[in-house]
Symmetry: C2
Subunit: 188 residues, 2 copies
DNA sequence: GTCTATATACGGATAGAC
DNA sequence: GTCTATCCGTATATAGAC
């Protein structure tokens, strides 16, 4: 594959990723993606043979990004408590997008479940990357026995905040809950 | 409208409601509903002229059901604390459905947001029925100043639990969180 | 690598016989 | 009230010229 093809492939992936997030996977057509990228619909199939293939590539890309982000946090914050706080701050960091479109991970998992899509498990594994990392952090803080429970709890809290913020278009609520969660981490 | 028409209309509504919940609104076709009810696709339009009209009727029906349920809880439980616990027990009550399909309200609001659907506000109002009722209960418990905040908090927690339970197919987590929430209500 | 043209299926929606 | 037949738009996907 040439350098130009690789560039276009990446561009298609990024565009598709954004559209899947904002419009949902099922509701996004090839035409939507092609128009946004600026290539012809027909040329599309040179890069991806099926829509599922694009989804697969998008999920892979998101997984890579997730792993890289978590690795960076590991390097940046020596204290597990600070890492957990950084995780929570993702909410405030993306508050505008969350208000409009919810959480990209959570809404994808929800949609895959409804569609009974074959890549439902792949989407959930993306979710698990964060969960496993959270388990690690809680373990480091001495919560050996209930690390999994705490990780799931935090993940559920953030998902709930994202969903409610999106439904009510209420950023103030997001800010309040983010603060509560940071306090909760402090008091662990 | 005759008695037979009214019966069929109700049957279509209930079937559509269930399919919208399990498959999502956008992903459910007239064919799906017609097949499930057992009537011809063409006959469908005798009852509902557009797909949006079915959605509108489904949301209205869900609203009525919600108001009725909350009214029953008000009668059954004189103590606001018991009412809040009953609300939380909805999670365990519907644990099988939540595991498979998530929360019918939350997932509908999420989908309406992605589709930028004209009835997004109507779906959110359904969400608000519960929020306003929760505000009332927290107010009755003496939390005049932070009743809204507490109501949103509880709603977000339940939504987060439903989403995560659905993604991980983990009923044990749902049970744990439901217990934690009941304890939280006790300690208010 | 990129384009146009097109095959094919399915979606919502309508018309009209019965 | 119920059915069949059909219109029309859009979706995925393919073929093949350039």
């Amino acid at each position: 594959m040439g350098i130009k093809a690789e560039l276009n492939r990446q561009q298609i992936l990024e565009t598709a990723d954004g559209l899947f997030y904002r419009q949902g996977y099922d509701h996004t057509s090839f035409t939507d993606i092609a128009d946004a990228v600026g290539i012809a619909r027909g040329n599309f199939y040179y890069y991806f043979k099926t829509k599922d293939e694009i989804l697969s590539a998008v999920i892979s890309k998101r997984s890579e990004n997730a792993r890289q982000t978590l690795q960076e946090w590991d390097k940046e914050f020596p204290d597990a408590r600070d890492r957990l706080k950084r995780y929570i701050q993702t909410l405030t960091q993306h508050k505008d997008a969350i208000e409009q479109y919810g959480c990209p991970l959570g809404s994808l998992c929800t949609e895959m479940a409804k569609l009974q899509h074959s890549q439902q498990d792949d989407a959930n594994k993306l979710f698990e990357i964060f969960r496993n990392w959270l388990v690690e952090q809680f373990s480091l803080l001495g919560h050996k026995n209930d690390a999994v429970q705490l990780a799931l709890h935090l993940q559920a809290r953030t998902q709930g905040v994202a969903l409610v913020t999106n439904a009510y278009r209420d950023q103030a609520f997001l800010q309040n809950e983010a603060k509560d969660l940071e306090d909760w981490v402090d008091q662990l």
